[in-house]
């Protein structure tokens, strides 16, 4: 059974979605990811969707759920690499994906995560280490 690989990059986790998502795959991803966040005490998750030419409401909801789950585990999520056509479609369909941060690419995504984490540190979030 194919699983979406989760790569560790320092204190961040990187997921690249390249295949069509279906229910099973989405649930397994959420399982794997939450486990990995806890295991490595990661504070940031980058989800790369640059390979997706189409994002429907299912994927939109999935991304939103992942972001919420990660936040519960004290990790911030950034979705990166959205193609212009996908952005336009999402906006036209009214799927604004509120609560999910986005960035142009992995590089900018890491900047976003670093800023978010340093803000959390300043606000005295428990258990956040450098």
């Amino acid at each position: 059974m194919e699983r979406i690989p989760i790569l560790k990059m320092g204190q961040y986790l990187l997921i690249t979605i390249q295949v069509d998502m279906h229910d099973r795959l989405a649930i397994m991803l959420q399982e794997d990811l939450t486990e990995q966040i806890v295991k490595h005490r990661s504070h940031g998750v980058l989800i790369d969707i640059s390979a997706l030419e189409m994002v429907d409401s299912f994927i939109g909801r999935m991304l939103g759920s992942i972001a919420s789950m990660a936040r519960l585990l004290d990790a911030e999520t950034v979705v990166v690499g959205m193609q212009p056509a996908v952005a336009i479609t999402l906006v036209e369909l009214g799927l604004s994906m509120t609560g999910v941060r986005t960035a142009l690419d992995v590089e900018k995504g890491m900047v976003v995560l670093r800023t978010a984490l340093s803000k959390a540190r300043r606000n005295g979030a428990p258990g956040v280490e450098v």
Partner: protein, 286 residues
């Protein structure tokens, strides 16, 4: 009556040269002076048209110009009108190409049919009907070419009037001029998002100083564009809000609370520079 259509074909065949000469004379009588090359072209076109009409008339007894036998004639006229439309001829000058054939054709019919006035009347009527439908076809084709030119120009105008300019590293500006409808919004969004990807910009300023009317639809389009840019990781703000526009937006109950808005592009630019971490120092020049 099948025989009479072939009468026309017969006349076109027997008197082709005379009809051609008479026709060219008649065309020249109403047109402006043509250059040598233009005259050659008209002569060539006239001869070719006579040939295709003769062939079609020989093949088809009913004179129904929409039938398959008349395809070559229709194709000729479509190309012909398109060329005339592009060449700056008026629609009546173009249609006159057909109508000017009437007189020489009637002359030929008269010389062929002679004193049989019933047959002559019937043939003349049939010839008139044929040339009238061909003339209308020509005018329609001419208009269609003009319409194609207009829609192509509209499309080009759309492209030209939504430029995306880079104000600074990572800061884009989108000065909108004119009304914003859904078609234009699509173009705007596409251009903006492509520019964000290419320039890896973090900020985009949509300036609406040049947008005359902002109603709920326009506001929706703007909000969509802002949302799309945000999904691409760029913060979008709207500048150039004129006093009347500010009043209209509030009276309409449009919610722009989620978007940063500034009255001037200058203010928006200054804000993006600060956000991007730039500091501006004014050096006093003596």
């Amino acid at each position: 009556m099948a025989s009479s259509k072939n009468k026309l074909a017969e006349v076109l065949d027997k008197h082709e040269q005379k009809i051609a000469t008479g026709w060219l004379e008649r065309q020249a009588s109403r047109m402006r002076r043509l250059s040598g090359a233009e005259q050659q072209e008209v002569t060539r076109q006239s001869r070719e048209f006579l040939k295709v009409v003769k062939t079609a008339a020989q093949g088809d007894g009913t004179g129904d110009v929409s039938s398959a036998t008349w395809n070559p004639v229709r194709e000729f006229l479509v190309d012909f009108s398109a060329a005339r439309a592009k060449g700056g001829y008026s629609s009546s000058e173009t249609a006159f190409f057909i109508f000017s054939m009437k007189q020489p054709l009637f002359e030929a019919l008269r010389s062929e049919i002679g004193s049989d006035s019933d047959t002559l009347a019937a043939e003349t009527w049939r010839a008139t009907e044929l040339l009238d439908s061909l003339g209308l076809l020509t005018t329609e084709a001419f208009q269609k070419t003009r319409e194609d030119v207009i829609s192509r120009q509209q499309h080009e105008l759309l492209e030209l009037s939504t430029p995306v300019v880079q104000l600074w590293d990572g800061i884009l500006a989108l000065p909108l001029i004119g009304t914003l409808d859904s078609a234009r919004t699509q173009v705007v969004m596409q251009n903006l998002l492509d520019a964000i990807v290419k320039s890896r910009s973090d900020f985009a300023i949509i300036d609406i100083t040049g947008v005359p009317v902002v109603d709920t639809l326009v506001a929706q389009h703007l909000l969509k564009t802002v949302a799309a840019a945000r999904l691409m990781g760029a913060e979008c703000m709207i500048s150039g809000i004129r006093p009347q526009i500010a009043q209209t937006i509030i009276h309409l109950g449009v919610d722009l609370s989620d978007v940063i808005t500034k009255a001037t592009l200058a203010d928006a630019f200054a804000l993006t520079l600060r956000r991007a971490g730039f500091k501006m120092v004014h050096e006093q020049k003596d």
